[in-house]
Structure formats: C-alpha cells, structure tokens
C-alpha cells in the first residue's frame, strides 16, 4: 500500500463485506503529541472473539478465492513500524472498530494520498451505505456525511459519475482549509 488512502479503501471494503449500513472514519492529527490516528467504525455483522484474534494473521481470510488476507496485517505493520499501534475490537452482530495509530512525523509513516477519492469511490460504489468522515487537525475539524450530501443533491443520485468531481473538490478544499496536506 503506497499511502493511507489505499488502506482506507481497503478497510472500508471489509465493512462493506460485513453488510454494514453505517461506516465512519475519524482521523485525528495531533501535531503537539506528534500522533496520527485513524478510527474505522462500522455496524456490520462483527466477528467472534476467536476470529478477531486471527484477522491480523496474513494467512487467515474469510474468502474462498484465495488463501491470504493481507488488508489488516498490512495496516498493522505500517502502524507498528512507525512506533504506533493497531487495535481491533469487534462484537458479533454489533460491528467492528479498527484503530491504527501512527507516529505522525516518522519516516515510515505513509502519506495521506488521495483521501477524498478513497472515500468517494467507496461511496459511489455503495450509495445505500451511510458514510461519515471527520478529520481533526489540532483544533480544527472537518466533517463530511453522505446524509448531508444526499440532502443537498436532492434527486440527483449520489453515484452518478457527474457528481464525483464536485464532491472531490469539496472535500479537498475543506481539508486544505483546516491545514491538512494530502501529500504529506
């Protein structure tokens, strides 16, 4: 995975496969404590305690098309490699929460990459799932929710290719406003 946006798409896919109807991503950047934290929460079908223990093993996967499952192990590796940590909490029938914390200015911390794209491509592929995304950098915060966007768009469907460009611009502009640099 080249950047955090790729991890984000990947972890979102897990929530989609777990038939979640609400997926949230909260990013917190703390420049004082030098931390960067990603919290993914979904209300999907969750996992048994046994399975939750096994998911960071690269040779564990629920799919039948191949024998490896690298999404979570790669995120864990990237977080730990910066001196951060990875945590997964899940309850069967309730949902899953994945946390990856990075040391923000560590040399091995992947750059953000195209986070607006990562979120929006998942949104347009799953227009019936509610997505929320918040990004907090020190005291400043941006909040995005597909519910609000749907309301603003009226009868224009969220997943029409025409809409993508506008939403991308909206998120990127707002992140820029709160001082988030996607290339760092």
């Amino acid at each position: 995975m080249k950047d955090l946006s790729m991890h984000i798409m990947d972890i979102f896919q897990n929530s989609v496969s777990a038939s979640a109807s609400l997926i949230t991503l909260d990013i917190v950047e703390d420049t004082h404590d030098n931390l960067l934290r990603l919290d993914f929460t979904d209300n999907g079908k969750g996992m048994t305690i046994e399975m939750a223990k096994k998911v960071t093993d690269p040779f564990f996967t629920t799919r039948k098309t191949r024998n490896v499952g690298l999404g979570l192990p790669l995120l864990k590796q990237n977080a730990e490699r910066t001196g951060g940590f990875f945590k997964l909490e899940s309850e069967e029938g309730k949902g899953t929460k994945v946390t990856a914390q990075f040391v923000r200015d560590h040399l091995d911390r992947p750059v953000f990459g195209d986070i607006p794209g990562a979120i929006l491509l998942t949104v347009i592929a799953n227009p019936d799932i509610v997505f929320t995304y918040s990004h907090k950098k020190d005291e400043k915060k941006y909040y995005f929710s597909t519910l609000e966007v749907k309301e603003a768009l009226g009868d224009v469907p969220l997943n029409d290719p025409l809409v993508y460009h506008y939403l991308h611009e909206m998120i990127a502009e707002n992140l820029n406003e709160i001082g988030v640099s996607l290339s760092s």
Binding site: L70, I124, N159, Y166, M170
Partner: protein
C-alpha cells in the same frame, strides 16, 4: 467555474447536474446501463485499482456517458489485478485483466464505445466460450 466548498455550493450545482443528466439519452432502466465493476480487494488496491476506477468515473463524467461504476471483491485473479468487469446492455459480462490507467481509457474508447475487444480478457467461464 466557481469552486465547490460547502453543501450550499453543492445545492447550487443541482440544476446544472440535472440539466447535464437530461442531455443523455433517456434510457432509465438499470439493466440497459453500462456497468463497470472494478475489483477492489487488497490485491486490486495495491496494484492500482483506485486510479483505474477514477479514470472510469472521470471519463464517463467528461463524456457524459450514463453508466454505473462500482466495486467488487477479489475474484481470485490476483495475478492479473487490477481487473475490471464490464457489462454492456444485452451482452455477457467480460472481465479484463492487467488494467492500468492507460488501458482503462482504451477500454472506454474501444470496448464500451466501439464494441472492439481489448487484450487481457480473463475467460470467466469456459463453457460459455465453447457455446459461442
């Protein structure tokens, strides 16, 4: 064009978007739409599926082609990622492998708009090939 920054700006674009959508041919049955599914599991993402999906979305928007771009999981062709499954109305789905940004544009020009096949097809089902 003014920059979109807030939901209010987005709301202002509503009329514009609707007008553009109306320019397209009126064929609002979901099964008559072109469907593009980009495999978006770890293997796909790591090999560039995100950029490929972006090309489809942006090109459809630029050329105002009515199509649905969506994602699927891993189909077991990790070696050929990024893979893209295209279903044209009335045709069987065709899966293309080794799709990079360049090939994605080529797929739109050749397969989607001109019905010409492009290299790298992954035979999903040998039985259906025999029947043809």
């Amino acid at each position: 064009m003014e920059k979109i920054k807030s939901l209010a700006d987005l709301k202002k674009m509503q009329g514009d978007l609707r007008a553009k959508m109306e320019l397209r041919e009126k064929s609002n049955h979901p099964d008559s739409l072109i469907q593009v599914k980009v495999a978006m599991a770890t293997c796909g993402i790591a090999s560039g599926a995100k950029e490929v999906m972006e090309v489809f979305v942006e090109e459809f928007s630029k050329r105002n082609i009515e199509a649905v771009v969506t994602q699927t999981g891993c189909m077991g062709y990790c070696y050929a990622e990024p893979t893209v499954e295209i279903t044209k109305p009335g045709c069987d789905p065709v899966t293309f492998g080794y799709v990079d940004v360049k090939k994605a544009s080529k797929l739109i020009d050749k397969y989607i708009l001109n019905n010409e096949l492009v290299d790298g097809i992954i035979p999903v089902n040998y039985a259906s090939i025999d029947k043809k």
